[in-house]
């Protein structure tokens, strides 16, 4: 095991590799920290035997210019650039080549229902990069707000970062709004999906309707493809079937499959009104 001084250099070096590869933030969690928080089968050491650390990279979401675009179809198509995945691979390569320890990208795509083999949200929290919000429990970084997360699992022992000393949500402005009118920007913009209460300036309860949110956030993608295909297959009239197949909705759904990595979501409203990290969206 490295000495504390060497370890500090080690962690800083690995983070520098991730940041240079395009991550906005990088944090480290202990693999053990997952043990009490997730069910058996979803822990880092059950994915990579001997796992000691989880390194998490947060990548930028849409640019401030994209948030400003009055045409909602722009953000529907181009959500982000996946640099956090590139950063994770760069750090994996570095750990295996320079330190001789196993390092793999943590699997995060759903394998059944909405459940991924490993939670990137929890990884980001444990690595001190963010905390859950009232807005669909999206992890907010206190500095940048909405980021996208990827992680790596490694057998290399690293000193973990502490969790946030205070959660990014509620923002002081939201706490003041709740005190004044009993709601927050996200709860007000999407009462259909979100609900929650605030006590003494912190989240007291928070729930969200995941199925409803999912069907609204991803109007074009795998779900819409399945829905449209089901209706097409069940349609007996060849002329109507033809209209459905060549119609805009099905065409967009197939396009979304092809460009799925870019076409992340079609609703950003709770994040659009969220003040956390907004200073980075105010440009000239």
């Amino acid at each position: 095991m490295a000495t504390p001084k060497e370890a500090a250099t080690l962690e800083a070096t690995i983070k520098a590799v991730g940041l240079a590869a395009g991550a906005r933030v990088v944090g480290i969690a202990s693999a053990d920290a997952f043990r009490d928080r997730v069910p058996e089968g979803f822990r880092p050491d059950e994915i990579l035997p001997g796992a000691r650390s989880v390194v998490v990279a947060g990548g930028d979401g849409p640019t401030a210019g994209a948030w400003r675009c009055p045409d909602h179809r722009v953000m529907e198509i181009t959500g982000y650039d996946l640099r956090e995945n590139v950063a994770v691979h760069a750090m994996c390569d570095h750990i295996e080549r320079a330190h001789g320890h196993h390092a793999i990208q943590a699997p995060s795509l759903p394998v059944h229902g909405h459940a991924p083999p490993m939670s990137m949200m929890l990884a980001a929290e444990l690595a001190g990069l963010g905390s859950r919000s009232l807005a669909a429990h999206i992890i907010l970084n206190p500095e940048y707000g909405l980021l996208y997360y990827a992680a790596l699992i490694t057998t290399l022992p690293l000193v973990p970062d502490p969790p946030l000393d205070r959660p990014a949500c509620l923002h002081p402005g939201c706490a003041a709004m709740y005190k004044r009118i009993g709601t927050t920007p996200c709860l007000r913009v999407c009462p259909a999906c979100l609900s929650g209460t605030v006590k003494d300036g912190v989240i007291e309860t928070s729930t969200y309707d995941r199925e409803r949110c999912h069907s609204r956030a991803q109007t074009y993608g795998i779900g819409s493809f399945q829905k449209a295909l089901y209706e097409i297959v069940n349609e007996d009239d060849p002329d109507r079937r033809r209209t459905m197949i060549y119609g805009d909705f099905f065409t967009k759904s197939v396009e979304a499959l092809g460009f799925y990595r870019d076409s992340i979501a079609q609703c950003f409203e709770c994040m659009r009104v969220c003040p956390v990290g907004r200073k980075h969206r105010k440009l000239r």
């Binding site: 097409i232 197949i245 460009f259 870019d262 440009l283």
Partner: protein
């Protein structure tokens, strides 16, 4: 140029573009776009001042020389040049503090792009239209394009005065045979897509059959998928239906859809024969 931008900002931006992989980079005045309402830079980003255009990721000399047409049919990629565009958008926001919007590579609906990248390339002085259709750069020929709309008032470039098309060999061929390589390989009068002439040494395109070109260029993509799906559902015989679904054509459409970012087009004939489209380099 505005005093708000540091001196040489455009040069720094272009240098970053080249470092990220662009072959050419030019900047157009956002006000110069003579497009219908809804398709101008300021319609996508209020206050837009400049449009940064990058070109590159073109087929290599070896790709053009490959004897298997399947090479270009499956490996043409705009992905690399799009990642350059995304990087520039982030750089403009983080380094200069101006809004920047990466123009999504998809379409708004049908074949309509969010912003014409061809027009953007022309106005940014990095290419001119060819008799065959694509915008060609005078030095590098056929390129793929990406663009960023920004509120930053970068120093702009002027459209090119001299066109890459027609190339000298095409002028000679026209004088000799009354046709050019592209018109000869895809003549509208014999089932092709193009018609045109050279007039005072300049290319004048008189006809372009876009729908026909589209069906030939994208034989294995979303359109191909929709076509087989319709045929399969209309087919009463179960065995024939199975053949349609497991056949080579449908299998290739599925590859094409899932690899949309690399599987751009399946016909390059007008560009393959164009002397201006790719350098006739003798390599070993």
């Amino acid at each position: 140029m505005s005093d708000d931008l540091p001196p040489g900002a455009a040069a720094v931006l272009k240098s970053a573009a080249f470092k990220a992989g662009a072959v050419v980079c030019g900047i157009a005045d956002a006000a110069a776009f003579d497009a219908p309402a809804g398709q101008r830079p300021a319609d996508l980003l209020p206050g837009a001042r400049s449009v940064v255009v990058v070109g590159g990721a073109q087929p290599r000399v070896g790709d053009w020389a490959a004897t298997s047409r399947a090479v270009l049919e499956t490996m043409g990629t705009t992905e690399r040049i799009q990642s350059v565009g995304r990087r520039l958008a982030q750089l403009i926001e983080s380094e200069y503090g101006y809004y920047a919007l990466f123009v999504p590579p998809g379409t708004v609906s049908g074949d309509r792009p969010f912003l014409s990248l061809m027009r953007a390339a022309e106005l940014a002085g990095v290419g001119t239209r060819s008799l065959a259709g694509p915008v060609l750069n005078r030095e590098h020929g056929f390129l793929y394009w990406s663009a960023v709309i920004t509120t930053a008032p970068f120093e702009t470039d002027q459209p090119e005065v001299e066109s890459a098309c027609p190339a000298e060999p095409c002028r000679e061929m026209w004088a000799r045979q009354g046709t050019t390589p592209c018109l000869e390989v895809c003549p509208a009068s014999r089932g092709g897509c193009l018609e045109g002439r050279l007039e005072n040494g300049r290319a004048v395109r008189t006809f372009y059959d876009a729908p026909r070109c589209h069906t030939r260029v994208h034989t294995h993509w979303i359109g191909g998928f929709q076509k087989v799906l319709e045929e399969t559902l209309n087919e009463p015989d179960k065995d024939k239906r199975k053949m349609l679904l497991y056949g080579d054509f449908f299998t290739r459409t599925l590859w094409a859809v899932t690899y949309s970012s690399t599987n751009i087009a399946q016909c390059f004939e007008c560009m393959r024969v164009c002397p201006a489209a790719h350098p006739r380099k003798e390599l070993r």
